[in-house]
Symmetry: C3
Subunit: 279 residues, 3 copies
């Protein structure tokens, strides 16, 4: 492994995303469905928000990747989500769990644990959500984290090892953890969390990249890292010309559409297995 390896693998992951246009099924919250679909289209994936209990498992067998986000879970979705997760697993389709605002809320919290037991390919959340899923915290303040990324790294790595999944903790810095690899990513801008759906869209782009890399020599860890890098890099570019959160959101979609894989590599900082985290 040379010093340039992370950059080469990142560029490769972003290239296959553009080439393969993966079909991504999203069972996600109604607040962010539009921006999630627009983000997927911007990065050259094809979105489909099929979440009826009788349709979701049928579609999961045909999709290239599936996102399950419990942000506004309804009774129907609570039935559809485990069914879609099982169908994805049977078909070998990668799927991502986003445990939005779990902790003390009585429907989504046990549902997220039920979904965790079904073996997601990756889990993405903020620090408080990951801590709650790892059994190590009571959740955050609404949809906001009250823990920092660093606070929960140990719990996140334990969760990754125990469940054999990739765990991504989003925050000022992002941490991506799997059984034997920890990556810390510095990217983005303070405006990103001030636009609704940027985090939820990240879960969808993780599913897109996991679908895109199938058959390549890239790993699920590479795919999840690439998703975080792409959305963060677009945030850095968008912030340069934004005059507030409205024009930032527009410029972010433009950047997702137009940034090349090479651009993304130059816009982010990646630290593999940093000291103190891997200890």
């Amino acid at each position: 492994m040379t010093a340039s390896t992370p950059g080469i693998r990142l560029r490769h992951a972003l290239e296959v995303l553009r080439e393969r246009s993966p079909l991504v099924q999203c069972l996600t919250n109604t607040v962010v469905q539009q921006i999630t679909a627009d983000v997927l289209l911007a990065v050259r994936a094809a979105p489909a928000m099929v979440d009826h209990p009788l349709e979701a498992p049928v579609f999961a067998g045909a999709a290239d990747g599936v996102l399950i986000n419990v942000g506004t879970v309804s009774s129907d979705q609570a039935t559809a989500m485990p069914a879609a997760a099982r169908a994805a697993a049977e078909a070998g389709t990668p799927w991502v769990l986003d445990p939005v605002a779990i902790g003390s809320l009585p429907v989504r919290t046990p549902l997220a644990h039920e979904l965790l037991a079904l073996g997601p390919t990756a889990i993405r959340g903020n620090a408080s959500e990951i801590a709650a899923l790892a059994g190590d915290g009571a959740g955050g303040r609404g949809v906001d984290a009250t823990d920092s990324v660093d606070d929960v790294l140990r719990a996140a790595r334990d969760l990754a090892r125990r469940s054999g999944t990739v765990v991504a903790v989003s925050g000022e810095r992002d941490a991506i953890l799997s059984a034997d690899r920890t990556t810390v990513l510095t990217s983005g801008d303070a405006l990103l969390p001030r636009v609704i759906g940027t985090g939820c869209s990240l879960g969808a782009v993780c599913a897109a990249l996991l679908g895109a890399i199938r058959g390549s020599d890239l790993t699920a860890h590479d795919a999840v890292l690439a998703a975080h890098a792409l959305l963060g890099a677009a945030g850095t570019v968008a912030a340069r010309e934004a005059r507030g959160v409205g024009s930032f959101a527009v410029a972010w979609l433009d950047a997702l559409d137009t940034l090349t894989p090479e651009d993304v590599v130059t816009l982010v900082q990646i630290q593999e297995d940093p000291a103190g985290v891997t200890a």
Copy 2:
């Protein structure tokens, strides 16, 4: 009929849309509700997304036009949609069916056929959706067409004749077909399908125009054609200054707001009963 007739009727249809501000009820998918409402407001219609099973049929009697789009059909919507279609028919309110992603999905596919039997004023979809509704295809890839517009023209015309409705097939070129008339429209831009909801909004604007033209000498075919021309022309204008999909979507709404009927006529190409299609 002179050579300029299509342009004159198009301009007339767009003028009555601006004058009458039709009230359009949308039973549509949750992904595109916001952009659909914004598009309706931009073109001077009034949106109302009333889709509760007990409220939808009451409202359908008061609306000027109704859109039924099965894109994220829920159990409640599956009850509300036929009830709204029946109430619209009883009140003489025009209504549009958008059979999103039908083909193999087990709830929306029979629902779309049930709705078809209730006599929509117009049907709008991509080539694969129209083929599936005509009984001549298995549907597309998620919400994307895997057939071309030309592939399905015969099936679409048969569907139009059999059901006595206007059938619009959207794609790189759009085809609008009724029992004795076929129109091919060239307009728009490649960025249009890369913004979520541009197609679904088209169904809503069809309903708006169908509501607006009542009492005029314009036909349902004219109304559906005008809707496609308006949204396509705005896409052409928006693409001129877009720096990606985000700024394109913003410029598209601006163009929908500000383009005059005359502008639209100059921005599109209309071919009536082209050879090879009417054979």
Copy 3:
């Protein structure tokens, strides 16, 4: 009370909003969830759209303010809304009722009256909705008012006195009424009602400000007035550079993000207890 008092109290309310970042739970319609969340983030509040019947009352106890908007009421929301209202009342959490399109629709109309009986801290609607809630009108045209603000001032003040709540009637001018105070606000721009969700977001920002002012010497009336002033002032600024409804919406979010409390004070006109209204 000096002539400058309204301006001083307005600035104070907007300052505490920025300092305290209130957590606002929205049980609202699916059409406007995204823009409502983006507006709350722009004004420094934290949105959470928790509306499952089993989760909504749990969350209402932790939120700083709650919005209940019946715009696309579902069966689940019709159960969740009274439960959330009761939980908010028990916890002393202020909550806002937005009776969207009530009048003749058979689910939302009795639901809104049930919610009114639970004692909202404030009610926000257009003239026809307020008239219908006051028992003095049959509702508007879909989601649009068919009455003017002036038409319904007497009914609105009676409603405010009877229910002990603050009643805000939105329109070309806004009227904010409580038992012993009437304020007329002139602000905004004609483009504001042509972007979907600007009115619904106003209800959410009322909830944010009601949450923010707790513990200060400001009143609920001050908070509701400040919400209307902030969103209207941003509309005035946005209209200066808008090229249509699309760029207006973007510039409006930018202005919500960047306007200072002082800016807002200079951009609106406030009339306290104007003659003819208080008679």
